[in-house]
Amino acid sequence: MTSGGKELAGIFLFVALVAGIPLATDSGVILNFVMMALYAALLAQAWNILGGFGGQFSFGHALFFGTGAYIQAIAQLQGGLNAWLALFMAVAGSAGVGALVGALSFRYGLKGSYFALVTLAFAEVFRILALSVPFTGAGVGLMLPLHESFANMQFGSRKGYVYLVLAFVAAALLLTWWLKHSRFGAYLQAVRDNEDAARAIGVNPFGVKLGAIVLSGGLMGAGGAFYVQVFQYIDPGIAYGPGTSVEALVAAIVGGMGTLWGPVLGALVLHVLADLTRNLFGQLPGINMVIYGMVLVLIVMFLPRGIAGLGATAKSLWKKSGGRRG
């Protein structure tokens, strides 16, 4: 089997295994953990498309998350639309915001820390806008009325949400797989590695990066829509605050940027870690964030390729030490 075929088989196996969990257990703790880990994986996968494959480090992915969340809520509350239709609009809308921000920043060749700062600034601008305009409910936020039914994308138990977010994660895995095995993905990685070299051999960096931010933004918007469906509430701080931006990029970096499984692994490891520290050090509020930070520092220092790149990092260390001896 080709490497691409093996990866596809891995994706189907993963989805089948996770889909089995709600059948095997009714434990709210387990189902909640699986749902939240998958949700974090989805955000990290979204960030990974632009940051990991495209090398454009966004510090403001909450911009797309919040836009998706607000569209999901507003389309239902003020537009009276069906939740599934709202989801479609949320994805399209956040992808559109991605296109706008991408067109503005990539047109002027912003990269590296400049791009990171611009995305951060955009997220803040949207947060302040959401605080000041009436249709977002301003500081009070928006509350989605509880009507549990499939048509409303609201489920009586966590099981429905697990399947919903699993479907998003599976779509993101397939999208990432496509990036690894398509011309667009090859161009995106070429631009990440060396923009001038890519231009010289016929790659249009503007178009490629724009495509990546649209895909990334759309996926992040699906994450925002999911959040609203689960918690039935959104306010400017949740939607556009830096927390979500950081969560998305940390999981992707810890797991391994520019890899298929990195974001999923990173989200899982961080969630296990967060739950463990919360249980062990429950009496010390905030300690889980300290441990979060420490893990991030250690991974960046010793595992630049993340958890998914563990094998490759070990191999190169082995080669290096062997080279010294030989």
């Binding site: 095995h181 398509s182 011309r183 090859a186 161009y187 990685q189 070429a190 590695d193 060396n194 001038d196 070299a197 890519a198 231009r199 010289a200 051999i201 016929g202 790659v203 249009n204 960096p205 520019g258």
Partner: protein, 254 residues
């Protein structure tokens, strides 16, 4: 005479007070293997950047295959059939040799599979077959130069602009590389190269342009330009030609 593949007319660009390229005109005939030489800082690489679209000229025009492409973006020029390489090699370091070359092959091949197999063929042409699955960052300098060449070649160019593909190579590696470049030219690709290694220029080029301080000071066959006093002085300093002539006369007299 047939229309030249690349024709530049009166090309100039300044960076602040520095006139990097001044009023340069030259015609590259289709199917030729030509060279651009000149001392360090003469503006050779800047001229390449102007031709390929990485820089926009202050004045002058660039015509490729009869079309005015002055100031066109590099990726559009690559699609038209003009591809450049870089003096300081620019590999996609995290990717394998095969993946690097495939990016070039994708210009004409949408399918990943066909681009990857095309990469193998191109690698064979430049002698990189054994290294196909190595990460580009593991290659030696000579290997990276070959990779730079292969990636450009994979775009199936009509005109290849080679910026010092031999710089930094040892004599053995240069000797191995010269037939590769000749092979490319013989396969029908027009080649214009910037080169410092005179052995290669003498060996390969049919026509040579000499650039010094941003201006074209001489052109002709390799033998003609190396005999040109202006060229000798550009490389070795003002008055050198006269001193060399005097020394040669004195040597003949004794």
């Amino acid at each position: 005479m047939a229309e030249p593949l690349l024709a530049i007319k009166g090309l100039s660009i300044s960076f602040g007070g520095l006139k990097a390229v001044q009023n340069v005109s030259l015609d590259v005939p289709e199917g030729s293997l030509t060279a651009l030489i000149g001392p360090n800082g003469a503006g050779k690489t800047t001229l390449f950047a102007l031709m390929s679209g990485f820089l926009k000229p202050d004045s002058g025009t660039v015509q490729f295959a009869g079309q005015d492409i002055t100031g066109c973006a590099p990726h559009l020029n690559a699609r038209r059939g003009m591809t450049r390489t870089f003096q300081i090699v620019q590999p996609f370091a995290t990717q394998t040799v095969r993946e690097n070359i495939a990016v070039g092959a994708h210009l004409h091949l949408k399918e990943r599979r066909s681009a990857l197999s095309q990469a193998e063929e191109v690698a064979a042409r430049v002698g990189l077959s054994a290294q196909l699955d190595k990460p580009a960052s593991d290659l030696t300098v000579a290997g990276r130069k070959r990779l730079e060449l292969a990636r450009a070649l994979a775009t199936r160019p009509r005109l290849l602009l080679l910026d010092e593909v031999l710089a930094g190579l040892n004599p053995q590696e240069i000797a191995e590389m010269i037939p590769v470049v000749r092979g490319i030219a013989q396969s029908g690709v027009t080649v214009l190269m910037i080169e410092h290694v005179m052995q290669a220029v003498m060996n390969l080029a049919q026509h040579v342009w000499v650039l010094a301080q941003g201006q074209l000071i001489a052109q002709g066959t390799p033998a003609e330009v190396t005999a040109d006093e202006k060229v000798v002085e550009a490389y070795l300093g003002h008055g050198t030609a006269a001193r060399l002539r005097a020394a040669a006369l004195a040597g003949a007299a004794t």
